[in-house]
Amino acid sequence: MTTQTISGPHAVLQAQARWRTAEIAFWLATLLPFVLAPDYLVLASQVAIAALFVLSLDLILGFSGIISLGHAAYFGVGAYTAGLISVHGWGEPLSGLVIAGTASGILGYVTSFIIARFRHLALIMITLGLGLLLQEAANAASWLTGGFDGLQGIHTWPLFGRIDFDLYGYTAYSYALAVLFVVFVAARRIIHSPFGLALRGIRENGARMPAIGAPTHSHIRTIYTIAAVIAGLAGALLSQTTATVSLEALGFQRSADVLVMLILGGAGRLYGGLIGAVVYMVARDQFSGLNPQFWYFWIGLLLIGVVMFLPNGILGGLAFAAERLKSAARKRPPVSAP
């Protein structure tokens, strides 16, 4: 597969980190909705927000192997923070985004001390428990959060003081896409940094890491905090662009949804989550007439099908198919070894 024609250790590593044509094509394609489907820009903004949230989960689950069944907690804190400052008179979107990201980041940092200590079943329980705890707390603190009815009266000011959030989602999609792209570039940088390599080490064999001198807990705390910030940004985008926040921003269902998107697309591949988000959100929109209960019937079947037959998601499946095609093509003509 990899022929050792390149000399020295650096070329291969550099090739891995380089932007590929397919990537550039992907990001150019994200601009297509503006021209091809201007009626769907609201949906497109929801997809971008979901993709940002999935990206956050991919950093901890896909790249670091840290399971979370309660990732909506950070999304929800970001959403409520952005909503609350708007309700209390400050609707400037960019500063709201920063404040929301900071709030969820603080929660992420605090909880990361717990997360880093556990693995396996205990971790599943703890993330699930933290998520539910936060949701119940938000419900109980209805004086602050509006409880079951959600926050009323969110108003987002124009972007840069000039560009209004229009009904067609033009601004919303531009805004969400821009944030997604900036965060994506940052996440990509993290993945290709020494720290990103350490994260992959934790995912591959966390028990071995201390034996090469790695401060595993500290690494986990860092990435968990970063992921919490990103989840908070996604939540903030949602409340700013839809002018609503309700308890379901924090719910188990949302934690499960984001997990489904990531698994569907393929975890640990950066683009897997994005593709999963697109497929999931578009399908959901197509079947929006369907009672949510029956929607989850199909999601359930999908989950079962994916773990049984497509364990690395759509992207993993594609990569596998491409690999097969390539090796089949290589076998056909009797090549002399290069």
């Binding site: 990899t2 050792q4 020295g8 250790p9 650096h10 291969v12 590593l13 550099q14 980190a17 940088r189 993290i190 290709h192 940094s193 020494p194 720290f195 990103g196 390599l197 350490a198 992959r200 080490g201 591959e204 064999n205 028990a207 071995r208 890491m209 201390p210 034996a211 090469i212 001198g213 790695a214 401060p215 595993t216 500290s218 690494h219 860092t222 970063i226």
Partner: protein
């Protein structure tokens, strides 16, 4: 003992005890490893050799006793802190990073040692020195040609070498090798030990090995463990002549000296 006492002691244990339930796996273990010496640790299966390495490196906490690295008491330090001070181990059963390439694995270890593994804003490719160092280590172990292959695709013998490469990347002062040649065919294990023998004399090496021929060839001193306790210690020749050691290895149930 008097000959070695003059030399600096690299690693020592003081009255180390450990039990799993009612099973005693370390009984008042007192070991001194003089700097630069090649030590072999032998003993029947289940004697507690691996457990002793786990205790020395902090993977397990002793019930009683102390571990000293040089003059420092490191008993309370977590494993990664001991590694950073130069106490490094390998595993009897491969414990590697299946989907990282050999180069990535060793580069990771180098980055951790140099304290750059926390930086997430600069690309890995900017750390040319680290990559070069890792590549160099792989080269000394004949792994350079396969350094871009994912670990899981490497041959078993190459994976055993990668275990050692990971340890070397941490620049050990004391290197504890847990059956480095376990499962490796005879001819390959010779090469493997030749590589170990070629290590700098600044590194103190303790290796566990069952093959007496390899022990005699590559160790200057031998420690024998039985039932969690140190039965005896001496030069290979002394150990070979020791009746008690023979008794243990001939499977006789003479637990001499153990209790």
């Amino acid at each position: 003992m008097s000959a070695t006492a003059a030399r600096m002691t690299a690693l020592s244990t003081r009255g180390v005890n450990k039990r799993f339930g009612s099973l005693v796996v370390a009984a008042d273990v007192e070991i001194d490893l003089p700097a630069g010496v090649r030590y072999a640790l032998i003993g029947p299966n289940g004697a507690g050799k691996t457990t002793l390495i786990n205790l020395m490196t902090g993977m397990l906490r002793p019930d009683a006793g102390h571990i000293l690295l040089g003059d420092d008491d490191i008993t309370a330090l977590p494993p990664q802190a001991r590694v950073r001070r130069g106490l490094v181990r390998t595993y009897q059963i491969n414990s590697l990073f299946p989907y990282l390439s050999a180069l990535e694995s060793v580069t990771l270890a180098v980055c951790e040692r140099r304290g750059v593994a926390r930086t997430w804003w600069r690309p890995l490719t900017a750390y040319r020195d680290e990559v070069d160092e890792a590549y160099g280590i792989l080269g000394t172990l004949n792994l350079a040609a396969v350094c871009h292959r994912p670990t899981r695709e490497l041959a078993y013998g190459q994976q055993r070498l990668l275990e050692i490469a990971l340890a070397l990347a941490a620049r050990p002062k004391v290197l504890l090798l847990d059956e480095p040649a376990a499962g490796v065919p005879r001819d390959e294990s010779n090469d493997l030990f030749a590589a170990i023998a070629g290590l700098s004399r600044d590194i103190t090496v303790l290796f566990i090995e069952h093959d007496m021929e390899l022990v005699f060839r590559f160790a200057s001193r031998v420690i024998v463990m039985v039932g969690g306790g140190v039965l005896t210690e001496g030069t290979p020749a002394e150990i070979a002549a020791d009746e008690r050691v023979r008794a243990v290895y001939l499977g006789e149930r003479q637990r001499v000296g153990a209790r």
